[in-house]
């Protein structure tokens, strides 16, 4: 269905600052459609520590791309660069063709948070720690951005928030404060808060890592439903089952590089990359008893 993008095995150094044609190759998207996300030659350092290097990645519309890899491999940093919660140093990220975080001028100028608002309202993010606002009810958490960012009136926002909570199966918890909800419920409210904004793209940063094992399933189910509805998603996860069954593409990161990229089958079963095999081996050992 989807031809493998061979960015992963790309050994030639990319011209870090050179924008290349979006997509770069056969990627299965309908002709003339801009990919949702294109990452080209991305690099980032914390001091002398290079956390991302030469990252190339294309995410097409309605695709689910999972970023996997050992901790410290840079997958969360990559995700946070996509909505510019983290600034990158080299290369470029485009969302629907628009450069993220910098002006198109040369030399590029870093955009302010104010200038980034337009982009961010179309890119939802779900965090590992949920980050619900504890002083607002579940309903208020979902309605807040509709009022403050979309400019909806309170009644319409509340009605829409209620619909969204219904969609994640939490209509009954609308008036509960986050502290009264389980981790899984909190994360579902956080997802409702994002989808209420009708984002074009959703970023998930280890959405189930802070959850008790028995609560992981309900969150993954909501994410599966979203994927089935055609939401474009980039998911940093340690849930290999989710990656294998739901993702269209999987990117394996190691030491700030994409070491393997392709369909789940290509990465999990056909990759010759020893680090992938080693990572999966460790994963299986940890999860068997």
């Amino acid at each position: 269905m989807i031809a493998a993008d061979k960015n992963a095995t790309n050994t030639a150094p990319n011209g870090a600052s050179l924008p290349r044609t979006a997509g770069g190759g056969p990627n299965g998207s309908p002709a003339g459609t801009t990919p949702m996300v294109t990452v080209r030659g991305l690099g980032k350092s914390f001091g002398t520590n290079e956390v991302l290097r030469d990252i190339d990645l294309t995410v097409n519309r309605s695709e689910v791309v999972c970023l996997i890899g050992p901790s410290g491999s840079g997958k969360s940093t990559l995700l946070r660069c996509i909505n510019f919660l983290e600034a990158y140093d080299r290369g470029e990220i485009r969302i629907e063709g628009t450069l993220v975080g910098y002006s198109e001028d040369s030399p590029r100028r870093r955009l302010t948070n104010r200038e980034l608002r337009g982009l961010r309202r179309n890119v939802g993010m779900v965090f590992q720690q949920f980050n619900l606002w504890p002083h607002m009810t579940a309903l208020e958490n979902v309605a807040e951005a509709l009022v403050q960012v979309r400019g909806m009136n309170k009644a319409d926002a509340a009605a829409r928030a209620r619909q969204m909570l219904e969609r994640v199966g939490l209509a009954a918890k609308a008036d509960s404060y986050p502290a009264r909800l389980s981790g899984g419920q909190q994360q579902r409210v956080a997802i409702a808060r994002v989808i209420a904004m009708e984002p074009h793209l959703m970023l998930f940063d280890e959405p189930t890592s802070a959850l008790d094992p028995e609560l992981v399933g309900e969150v993954l189910q909501v994410m599966r439903d979203l994927a089935a509805d055609g939401m474009t998603m980039v998911v940093v996860t340690h849930e290999m089952g989710f990656a294998a069954n739901v993702a269209d593409k999987v990117a394996f990161l190691d030491h700030g590089r994409i070491a393997a990229f392709g369909t789940p089958r290509e990465v999990f079963h056909e990759s010759a990359e020893p680090r992938v095999q080693q990572f999966l081996q460790t994963y299986h050992e940890r999860n068997s008893f």
Partner: protein, 215 residues
């Protein structure tokens, strides 16, 4: 012990207690305003403002309130500003309290997890809205117990303004016991009145906390 002297003195003591409450309330109010301003200065990102705020806090926290009060009371007339004792008292209480309050607010703001603002940022919130809707309400909630504590300390510290002649509770107790030679009864009564006022403050604090901790 002769409790009838307390009954006789009670109207005067209560009247003085009203002064204590007023001076303290005004001092608290001034302290809150100064506290917010100093806190904003220190969080503003400007090095100069941060330094100025830091110097302010270390001075007013480091010098005893009694000395500050006497400095304000005796120094300002030297430069031609004649301050009534009541104004000097409110100013001293407010300036000192402001230093503590600014630190309480600063600590509370830092105690709000970073992810709280980040979630709003990622949704496209304007910066001012992140402050007004997400950060400040939470910082305030965190600060309530420490603020109530500070208010209680301030109310007790207001006994110091007796030295500049304001007829508040402590000063009035001194005056009465100097004339009826019954210091034990009078000071005991004064102590109970202070305790009662602070009890009300503490109850108020608990009520506010409970209301804010619905979540």
């Amino acid at each position: 012990m002769k409790f009838s002297v307390i009954i006789d003195a009670l109207p005067y003591l209560l009247q003085a207690a009203v002064t204590t409450v007023w001076v303290s309330l005004l001092g608290m109010l001034l302290g809150q305003v100064i506290g917010v301003l100093v806190c904003v200065a220190r969080q503003s990102g400007s090095r100069a403002a941060d330094m100025a705020g830091g110097v302010y806090v270390s001075f007013f926290r480091g010098v005893p309130l009694l000395i500050q009060l006497l400095l304000i009371y005796y120094m300002l007339p030297l430069v031609g500003i004649d301050v009534p004792p009541l104004v000097a008292s409110v100013a001293a209480l407010g300036l000192a309290s402001g230093a503590y309050v600014s630190e309480i607010y600063r600590g509370s703001l830092n105690a709000v997890p970073h992810g709280q603002a980040e979630a709003a940022l990622a949704l496209g919130f304007p910066g001012t809205t992140i402050w007004s809707r997400i950060l400040l309400p939470q910082a305030f909630r965190i600060s309530v117990p420490a603020l109530i504590n500070e208010l209680i300390l301030l109310l007790k510290a207001s006994s110091l303004i007796s030295v500049v002649g304001v007829a508040e509770l402590t000063r009035t107790s001194q005056t009465i016991s100097a004339s009826n030679y019954r210091p034990l009864e009078i000071y005991l009564a004064a102590g109970v009145i202070y305790l009662a006022i602070n009890g009300v403050l503490a109850l108020f604090g608990t009520a506010v906390e409970r209301r804010l901790q619905r979540g």
